[in-house]
């Protein structure tokens, strides 16, 4: 479980996160949603330690991450897997080397053990036999799947996904959503997904935190979000022509 208690973050005069307290549960797909510029990416970067919070605390299963030294954080970082928006695969390494990289850096496994683990992870994301391909040779969906495989190579306790569906067609988005959800349940990972894809919200949102103007505006799950009275959340959820029509015809 990950908890953020009263966290705030400013960039100069611009206060991006304002006193946010939020809890992300283990074994569930926890979604952070919000409009572009609402602060959800900053929140995720604070949670993983890429940005330091100005105020407040972040706990990884009761361990105060924000109060830790660089060395202490290193141990927790090895329990974190992260899927970046663009995949962030290392260009100079092929798929196998990308997935093997965390294993090489942080374990003393033999080459055979590492290859076995790589193949296991690739099988999980349905990319068997892609070992020798380079990132430039992968499609958008394949890149995301390889990034997921790399993120899970060290058996993480916590999985962070920053806009996993951006730039993907609806079908591939669905495949990625299914993968994230399946991984979370099977390995009982605390998964946090940063998204504004409403398909994902309705499909995999075990818990949903809506960020509005840097504040936690609403919390609930995928069933509650469609019936909420919250004005700002309704404007966000039913912003597209399709969702407006669905709401009007009460199809959902």
């Amino acid at each position: 479980m990950i908890k953020a208690l009263n966290i705030s973050k400013s960039f100069g005069e611009n206060k991006v996160l304002k006193d946010i307290t939020v809890k992300f549960e283990k074994g569930k797909t926890n979604l952070i949603i919000g409009q572009s510029g609402s602060g959800k990416t900053v929140l995720m970067k604070c949670l993983v330690g890429l940005y330091e919070v100005d105020e407040g605390h972040i706990y990884f299963d009761e361990r105060d991450f924000s109060a830790m030294t660089f060395k202490e954080r290193k141990k927790i970082r090895q329990e974190i897997g992260m899927l970046f928006q663009g995949g962030a695969l290392f260009d100079s390494l092929n798929v196998e080397e990308n997935i093997k990289f965390p294993l090489t850096m942080f374990t003393n496994q033999s080459l055979e053990e590492k290859i076995e683990r790589v193949n296991f992870c690739l099988k999980w994301v349905n990319l068997e036999n892609a070992n020798k391909l380079y990132p430039a040779e992968l499609s958008g969906g394949m890149t995301k799947r390889v990034a997921i495989a790399r993120a899970i190579s060290l058996n993480p306790e916590y999985l962070f996904c920053d806009e996993p569906n951006s730039g993907l067609d609806p079908h591939t988005s669905g495949v990625i959503d299914d993968l994230i959800s399946k991984l979370t349940e099977e390995f009982q990972i605390t998964t946090i997904v940063n998204t504004h894809d409403m398909n994902s919200v309705i499909k995999i949102g075990d818990t949903i935190s809506f960020i509005y103007e840097g504040q936690l505006w609403w919390e609930g799950d995928k069933t509650q979000i469609l019936d909420t009275d919250n004005k700002e959340l309704n404007e966000f959820v039913f912003d597209t022509e399709l969702t407006k029509r669905l709401k009007k015809s009460k199809i959902y």
Partner: protein
């Protein structure tokens, strides 16, 4: 300016930490020696050969006085190449070739979140990316510079072989005359320091990039400009310190 220098110092503190894993660092080091050093061998050899030849021809045209021995040509080529041309000019050329490569490589990794990915994994990205480049350049650049000295003097020798400006014997005599081994030491000290400046400044410029392709290009240019300026500045300081 002062803030950038502060950031540079803070980054260097991260860079010179003990590598996460020795075996990974050694592999990186060998790869960097290949890409930063061995792949620069061609351009260093060509430029040195022609520059040595040009220095030899220009010196021969400027020696009108019969009291000045012809062997002065060889002597001049040797001194110019070892003292200044090989360590400084070749380092400036490497600042362009290697510096822009390092800044754009690391800068692209920054804007595509590859550096964030390293950090989240628990890897010190500054150490992992910059330290092997700095050490590789400090190891391989002296080798390149010694080869540059060799090719420079060969350039002058080829002029003697293919023209009537001076004889091979006079040239070789000049090359060997009044030789002081200290100038090689001086040249190599400069080379090692220039190698550090090129790789650390370029690594820094790439590492702090924010934005996209335009900013990566700008960082690459800044890397070359600042590396060159620092080479010129440190050339003056080191010459004063080591030769005065």
């Amino acid at each position: 300016m002062l803030s950038r220098f502060g950031k540079y110092i803070l980054l260097m503190i991260q860079v010179i930490r003990k590598p996460e894993k020795g075996s990974v660092y050694r592999k990186q080091l060998i790869m960097e020696i290949q890409s930063l050093g061995i792949e620069s061998l061609g351009i260093v050899a060509i430029i040195s050969l022609f520059m040595g030849a040009v220095v030899a021809i220009q010196t021969s045209y400027n020696i009108d006085n019969p009291l000045i021995p012809v062997s002065t040509i060889g002597f001049t080529v040797r001194q110019s190449v070892i003292l200044e041309f090989a360590p400084t000019i070749i380092s400036l050329i490497l600042a362009g070739k290697v510096g822009s490569r390092i800044a754009s490589e690391i800068g692209t990794m920054r804007v595509t979140e590859q550096i964030d990915a390293l950090e989240i994994m628990g890897v010190n990205p500054a150490n992992y990316l910059i330290f092997p480049k700095v050490t590789a350049a400090m190891i391989i650049n002296p080798v390149l510079i010694i080869l540059s000295m060799y090719f420079g003097m060969i350039g002058g020798w080829l002029v003697a072989v293919f023209t009537d400006l001076y004889t091979v014997n006079d040239y070789v005599y000049g090359i060997r005359a009044w030789f002081d081994g200290y100038i090689i030491f001086y040249a190599l000290i400069k080379t090692v320091i220039f190698a550090y400046l090129i790789t650390s400044i370029s690594g820094f410029e790439g590492f702090i990039v924010k934005g996209g392709a335009v900013e990566v290009g700008a960082a690459s240019t800044r890397a070359v400009v600042w590396s060159s300026i620092m080479i010129i500045l440190f050339n003056l300081i080191l010459t004063q310190l080591l030769l005065s």
